[in-house]
Subunit: 128 residues, 2 copies
DNA sequence: CTATCTGCAAATAATTTGCATGTAC
DNA sequence: GTACATGCAAATTATTTGCAGATAG
C-alpha cells in the first residue's frame, strides 16, 4: 500500500539520506531545502516513514530521542560519541554475530540493534 | 547539581517505576496519578531525567520513538514484541559479552544497548 | 484517467520551561 | 533560612493529518 510511485521527491530524499550522517527527518529536511525549497517537511517525514517500512532505509532509535534514519541497510552497530555527537557505523567486531541472532529464549528475532555510547577516538585525543 | 533532595515525589516515582514495565514518562505519570493526583506530569519528566542522568535508572531508546525508562540498571538486553508491544528484559545469552565491550575500533565505550525486535513466545503461539 | 503523492497549514503529542509557592536539610 | 524542588500553565518541538491540487503510470 505504500511507496508505489517513483517520484522526484523520493529520489531527492533517498539521495540526500545516502550523503548525510544519520540525520533526523528534520535535519534531512533542512539539508534538502537548500536545493529544493519546495519539497515540504511533511513529505520528508512521510517518505522516510515509507522507506523505513518497506526496508529501503533503517529507522534508528538512538540516544537523544529523535528518530534518525540510515541508508545503510547491511547489519551494523552504531557508536554514538557523547562529546561531539557523531554517530559511527561499525560493521565488524566481536558484536557482529549478535546481529545475526534469530532466537532469544524462544523470542523469534527479526532484527537486532546495537548502540555503543562513549567517546570517539578524535574526541579522546582532544580531551588530553 | 542534580537530584539533591530526597522528596516524597522522587520516592513515589522510583517506586512506581520499579513496579512498571518499561513505561514512558507519560505512562508512568498516568499510573502514579491514580494514587497521587497532585504529583504533576512535569515532575515525572524532570525526576526521571535526573535519575537517568545520575544513573539511578536507565533511559531506553527503543522502537516506537518515545523515551522509556527502566529501573533495572544491571546490564541486559531488551526484546521488543512487534505483536503485543511488550518489552522483555534478558540478562543472559550469547549477546551478554557484548554488553561488556569497552573498546570498538578505538571508540571508548561507556555503555551498550542491545534491542531485539520480533515476536514473543506467547504471540507466536497465538499466531498458529 | 485515476490512484497516489505532495504541499500547505492546522492539529497532535511529547517534552520543556517560567515562575510563584512549598519544603528538605 | 535558603537553596532546591514542585505544580501549574504556557511554550516548544517533533511528528502527523486533512484536504485540494498536481502527477506517475
Amino acid at each position: 500500500m505504500e511507496n508505489k510511485r517513483n517520484t522526484e521527491q523520493k529520489r531527492v530524499i533517498l539521495s540526500a539520506l545516502m550523503n548525510a550522517d544519520h540525520p533526523t527527518a528534520s535535519e534531512l529536511y533542512e539539508i534538502i531545502r537548500r536545493n529544493n525549497p519546495h519539497l515540504s517537511r511533511a513529505t520528508v517525514f512521510r517518505v522516510l516513514g515509507q522507506f523505513a517500512d518497506d526496508g529501503t532505509v533503517r529507522r534508528l532509535n538512538l540516544t537523544g530521542s529523535d528518530t534518525r534514519f540510515d541508508a545503510r541497510t547491511a547489519p551494523h552497530a552504531h557508536c554514538h560519541c557523547d562529546v561531539c555527537g557523531k554517530i559511527f557505523d561499525v560493521f565488524e567486531g566481536p558484536f557482529a554475530p549478535v546481529l545475526q541472532i534469530s532466537d532469544v529464549e524462544g523470542f523469534r528475532v527479526s532484527s537486532a540493534q546495537i548502540e555503543f555510547t562513549g567517546v570517539c577516538p578524535e574526541c579522546q585525543t582532544k580531551l588530553n
